[in-house]
Subunit: 317 residues, 2 copies
């Protein structure tokens, strides 16, 4: 028995998938990917050619493809996206969380982005995405999602559960339910556990926790990460200047931020100015290391200069 249930990305499977794509063996492709985690399929598509990836994405169920798209490497995404049909991209974006939809849209040029936006039918989702696109990429507003459960303090447990039921499809991971007043201002939070354990007539007002840590929409993402780390939060509500609840950030997005920032710091210390990967060409890698190489050259020249300076002295020996 294999204790860690991860999909094994073997060379053999990759080869048989390639053959399946070549032979247009739709049943084999669908069946062999059924039930596999989207992160694993994305890692698989990162290995395939752009045409092969698009072939697979178009074969799978729409929601499944949308979930895989989000998990793709940015390098793969910028190759795949321009090759897709505009209405196709729009329909996938409709199935994503607003923050992921905004991320995908931000990878398009201005003209294509407008074309995709024009094709998005879900008006609520579109409004949410357009709001998110207005915020700076590296701030709380830029990484938050618009999908979360909010409860009015005057509701009871039954009304709140109905709201959860209504939003069940949109909000995959709930963590906390945020409590607001009639003006949508953040008052506190109530955990799902408390909702489960309370009697159905209990009013939210009587069980919610006023001690909630929130972050302002303009806060830098690194600072958001340090707040979430300090207070051990799995999600944090985002508020505007009037304390109105505008979004929430979940810890899985923050884990990516911490890793990215750490990678940047490490590359900066290694004298590498740009983001490079093993797969980049020698030219790209050399260019990224240019500052470091230049320092070497300057050092060499200065050494020669100094020796030249002592030429007279040296020639006496």
């Amino acid at each position: 028995m294999e204790p860690i249930k991860q999909f094994e990305l073997s060379k053999e499977y990759l080869e048989s998938l390639r053959l399946g794509i070549e032979g247009e063996d739709i049943d084999f492709i669908r069946e062999s990917l059924d039930g596999v985690n989207v992160a694993d399929i994305a890692a698989l598509l990162d290995e395939l050619s752009m045409q092969e990836s698009i072939y697979v994405l178009r074969l799978l169920e729409k929601q499944f493809s949308a979930d895989i798209l989000i998990e793709l490497d940015e390098d793969t995404l910028v190759k795949v996206l321009p090759e897709l049909e505009i209405p196709e991209v729009a329909s996938w974006i409709e199935l994503m969380d607003s923050d992921d939809g905004a991320d995908i849209l931000s990878l398009f040029g201005e003209r294509e982005r407008e074309e995709v936006i024009a094709e998005i039918q879900d008006r609520v989702k579109l409004e949410q995405i357009l709001e998110l696109l207005r915020y700076e990429e590296d701030t709380a507003g830029g990484i938050m999602a618009k999908e979360f459960i909010r409860a009015n303090k005057n509701w009871n447990v039954i009304q709140t559960i109905n709201e959860i039921r209504r939003q069940a499809e949109n909000v995959e991971k709930i963590y906390s339910i945020y409590v607001v007043n009639n003006r949508q201002q953040l008052l506190g939070r109530v955990s799902l556990k408390k909702i489960i354990l309370a009697a159905s007539e209990t009013r939210i007002e009587d069980i919610y926790d006023e001690e909630v840590i929130s972050v302002p929409v303009h806060m830098d993402q690194e600072e958001v990460a340090s707040v979430m780390r300090k207070y051990d939060l799995e999600s944090v509500p985002v508020v505007n200047a009037k304390n109105k609840l505008v979004g929430r950030i979940t810890v899985d997005d923050i884990l990516d931020v911490v890793q990215e920032e750490a990678d940047e710091d490490i590359q900066a210390m290694a004298g590498v100015s740009a983001d490079i990967e093993e797969s980049d060409s020698v030219f790209t890698i050399s260019k990224a290391r240019l500052p470091w190489l230049l320092i070497g050259v300057i050092g060499g020249l200065m050494g020669a200069k100094i020796i030249g300076f002592f030429e007279d002295g040296l020639s006496k020996y």
Copy 2:
């Protein structure tokens, strides 16, 4: 209105707290810390002297003090712990999650650790902590906690909610409920959201999700971090070689792991071999940078050697 509701650690407050401690103004200390987040109080105690910290910890409600103790800097902890009474430490450890209790115990020398263990009254907690102490510090087993909710696949929703109720005090954050068979082997997971939305007679067997990612107890913590990051998990179950569920790791602990590993990498790249902080002495910092300084000295010597090598040639000019 202040959007981010964090406790502001001002010099003025610190000063008034110091005066309160000096004047033994118990009411002032208790009232001014009432409702403040434990992470903020820990940051405050890190600024105080060891005696002052202990004075404050002893004044507060026991559970509150135990929660604060966990959040203290390791530097502060190793100063504070030896000054506490053995029964006092034991009673605080009883109120902690097993992983935190094990962390605290591992900071004691062998003799003191045995003394504390002998004082722990809660036999269940003690057994859990002793099990955790057996695992390597940097592995899944070393960072997991024994507190989580498990449901037998034959239970229905009501029985599961009763289990949650029974464990409500022990398990602060639930995330997922892990589903096991009669031999305690991990079969899958069911989310709290699904429990809320299901009818009370629904059997767990019919609603649980078989696609659960688990990690083996001996897996390195860095690998656990990358699994949780890849699959966007907020908690991951830990299993032994027989797929028996033995613990779970939550993402707040993993966030600390990612940050620690990144800091280590950055320090390694900067040529610093040991963990240094701003507060360390010049001697400690210099010692940590020794590898780097040595390379400089060797480089200088080699340069002199090379010039010596060309001495004859140079002397011709």
